[in-house]
């Protein structure tokens, strides 16, 4: 049989191998970077029905987180305030502001304001706010510097790996119970944090679950 393939065909397997390797590296790298909550979720900042600013309320006015999120210490779910909570001030203050139109409409009709949820745990994850805030985990650990956000966005990936970072080493994040709602509090140094965290961990018997059943009940 005469040569059916030209001489350059000898290089095709090698070239193919090279292409597959390069493509493989690009695809792997791409997925590693782009297909994670770190890329897809962090920075999520949807428009809300009323432009509520945490920067004004929590930082400038110094309101406590628990004034609005009143169940956070006692319930698994941290509530978004009802319209009544808003109106307890805004029936007097800035009562005619166009920015509060959605809140007034809700007050008149009895339909809750349709706030857009930002921090979503999947339905197969059991997360309890009360347990965390009562045992030395600040709002800041998961929600970031929310007291400085004019519009709330997602600051942390909330991926399982991210949860486990703290569940495996809680001493890096535990803080004094008095500073849970003080989002501007910082430990003096990393060493101090570790020493303090280790002490709290021991005193409070903090054993965060790292088994599947801990969160996926």
């Amino acid at each position: 049989m005469a040569n059916f393939f030209p001489r350059w065909a000898n290089w095709i397997p090698l070239k193919l191998l090279l292409i597959v390797m390069v493509l493989g590296a690009v695809v792997t790298g791409g997925i590693w970077y782009y297909f994670t909550p770190k890329y897809t979720n962090v920075g999520y900042m949807p428009a809300q029905p009323a432009p509520f600013s945490h920067a004004i309320h929590a930082e400038q006015l110094g309101m406590d987180c628990r004034y609005c999120h009143s169940h956070v210490e006692v319930a698994g779910h941290s509530n978004v305030p009802s319209t009544q909570t808003c109106m307890s001030c805004h029936s007097q203050i800035k009562a005619q502001s166009p920015k509060l139109a959605a809140v007034r409409a809700s007050w008149e009709t009895g339909t809750p304001v349709q706030w857009v949820r930002i921090h979503k745990a999947p339905d197969y994850v059991y997360f309890n706010h009360a347990v965390h805030v009562n045992r030395g985990i600040s709002c800041h650990s998961c929600h970031g510097q929310i007291n400085e956000m004019p519009v709330v966005y997602q600051a942390q990936p909330l991926s399982m790996a991210w949860c486990l970072e703290c569940h495996r080493e809680p001493e890096k994040f535990l803080r004094p119970p008095s500073e849970i709602y003080n989002l501007n509090w910082r430990p003096a140094s990393a060493q101090e944090q570790l020493a303090m965290g280790a002490q709290y961990k021991k005193e409070w018997n903090v054993n965060p679950p790292v088994t599947c059943g801990g969160c996926h009940r």
Partner: protein, 503 residues
């Protein structure tokens, strides 16, 4: 003295003279032509008929799988406590079938069993197709198949890492290694024959396709040297897999604490069963293929005979294992283990026939009155796997293809029943009698499984249509003409007894 030695040697040589592996003195050209032409002629009508039927069945399976994935595993009859049923039964059934191919191609190669040459190619192809069918079930039984990549140890944003202590994970590696090594072994062995097909090709397209597939094989001395080394290494890699894959599959059960599963005999028992069932499937497929293509000179009655002997050997090992399970259940003194074997499997209505037997009569009557819910599955298994293959002790049954075919089909059914018995009868009666429940397959169960036979046969039909189903160059090597001494007998004073005997 020297004469006496020569004489006894002659007598010994006479005794060990074997029937030729290729009958009717077929020439090398005849073999090439006969095997290669199957792929070159137009597909016969029967091929289209079989292919249409089997691919229609395959489509049934695919549709059922689509329905399962889109709806959820609830479309199967799985329940509590029968969390594994036909899915894992089918998986173990199919993965077991593959083992004959690997045994024929690897172990018989290393042990220099030349009769393997005419059956190894098709048996290896069968291995691959069986593993394809097997692989479907564990993949789809996980429920959310898009999460199946969790089985791979890939760093991810869920920080999920595999539990390497779980035999289910070992299974993933065992089966994927098995498939990878089998496909490499099979393809390596195909290369010289693909070159033959390329060289015989008439059309440009065939030349192109087989030219690529043959990887530039020219049949030079150096290429043969590399080929033989590569093939030997792959045979060495495949050999432990014959034992390891089904051992690991058996660990899925043996390392659990379910009575009826928690048994140390499982690995060897599963391996013997796999080889047993695999050889039965090889014969089930090869006998019709041999008849259709007139390959009786290559796949001779001796080949069939040898495979039947392996079936009776492994079938007897399996029968011994069944008996030993009962012994261990009794000897262990574990009441749950005893209960599973007697009340979930053995006890059958016909036990009441033995109520007259002195001593055990009352117990027999009671067992007969309260038979195991799955007694029919257990006794089908015993009949198909232990009783039926015993016919192969008789030369008559080994030498008549129709009997071989019938008995092998009993074995095929029996091996499916064996896995069903192990899985379902152990699970359906939990430790808690309040959760006892029967398993009832749904139509999705039934058609998914039936469809896998379509997938298996359709792939096999495509294989015999496009690839040489017999290893041409290896069969040629076992011809008398391939012996370097062939035709040079004049120079030696060969004893008359050896004249005409195959070498």
């Amino acid at each position: 003295m020297a004469d006496a030695i020569m004489q006894s040697r002659e007598a010994a040589e006479q005794r060990i003279t074997r029937a030729p592996l290729v009958t009717n003195n077929r020439s090398m050209a005849w073999i090439t032509d006969h095997v290669a032409s199957v792929t070159e002629k137009k597909a016969p009508a029967w091929w289209w008929v079989l292919f249409t039927i089997s691919s229609a069945l395959a489509v049934c399976s695919v549709l059922c799988i689509g329905y399962l994935i889109s709806t959820g595993v609830g479309v199967w009859g799985l329940n509590h406590p029968v969390g594994w049923a036909w899915d894992i039964t089918n998986f173990v059934f199919w993965i077991g079938i593959g083992h004959a191919g690997t045994l024929i191609s690897a172990i018989l190669f290393l042990t220099r069993q030349k009769w393997r040459t005419s059956i190894n190619r098709a048996a290896e192809a069968m291995t691959l197709f069986a593993v394809v069918c097997a692989g479907i079930f564990p993949l789809i039984h996980v429920g959310r198949i898009w999460m199946v990549w969790f089985l791979a140890p890939v760093p991810n944003s869920n920080a999920i890492w595999q539990n390497f202590r779980s035999p289910l994970l070992w299974d993933v590696f065992a089966v994927s290694t098995y498939f990878t090594v089998s496909i490499l072994f099979w393809y390596t062995g195909l290369v010289p024959d693909l070159a033959t097909l390329r060289d015989r090709a008439k059309t440009k397209l065939r030349k192109f396709i087989y030219g690529i597939a043959a990887l530039g094989w020219r049949g030079g001395n150096r290429q043969w040297k590399h080929y033989e080394m590569a093939y030997l290494i792959l045979a060495g890699l495949s050999t432990p897999l014959v034992l390891s894959v089904h051992s690991v599959v058996s660990f899925d059960f043996a390392t659990s604490v379910i009575p009826g599963w928690h048994t140390t005999i499982f690995p060897p028992y599963f391996v013997a069963g796999a080889i047993f069932g695999g050889f039965a499937m090889v014969l089930t497929i090869m006998l019709p293929a041999r008849a259709i293509f007139g390959l009786h000179d290559l796949i001779t009655d001796d080949h069939v005979d040898k495979m039947c002997k392996i079936i009776v050997l492994t079938g007897s090992i399996v029968g011994y294992a069944y008996a030993m399970e009962f012994f261990i259940a009794w000897y262990s003194g574990n009441p749950y283990e005893r209960y599973v074997f007697v009340h979930n499997r053995l006890a059958a209505p016909f036990f009441s026939w033995f109520s007259w037997v002195p001593g055990i009569g009352p117990q027999m009557a009671e067992l007969g009155a309260n038979p195991a819910p799955y007694w029919w599955a257990y006794w089908s298994m015993i009949f198909c796997n232990v009783v039926a293959p015993q016919l192969f002790w008789s030369r008559y049954f080994r030498r008549h293809a129709i009997w071989v075919f019938i008995i092998c089909n009993f074995v095929n059914a029996g091996m499916w029943f064996e896995r069903f018995v192990i899985i379902v009868t152990s699970l359906h009666r939990d430790f808690l009698p309040s959760s006892w429940n029967m398993f009832h397959p749904t139509w999705v169960d039934i058609w998914t499984f039936t469809g896998t036979f379509g997938i298996f046969l359709a792939l096999f039909l495509l294989f015999i249509r496009w690839l040489p189903m017999i290893c041409i160059f290896e069969v040629k090597a076992v011809l008398p003409e391939a012996d370097p001494h062939h035709g040079h007998d004049d120079h030696h004073e060969e004893p008359a007894a050896l004249k005409g005997a195959a070498h």
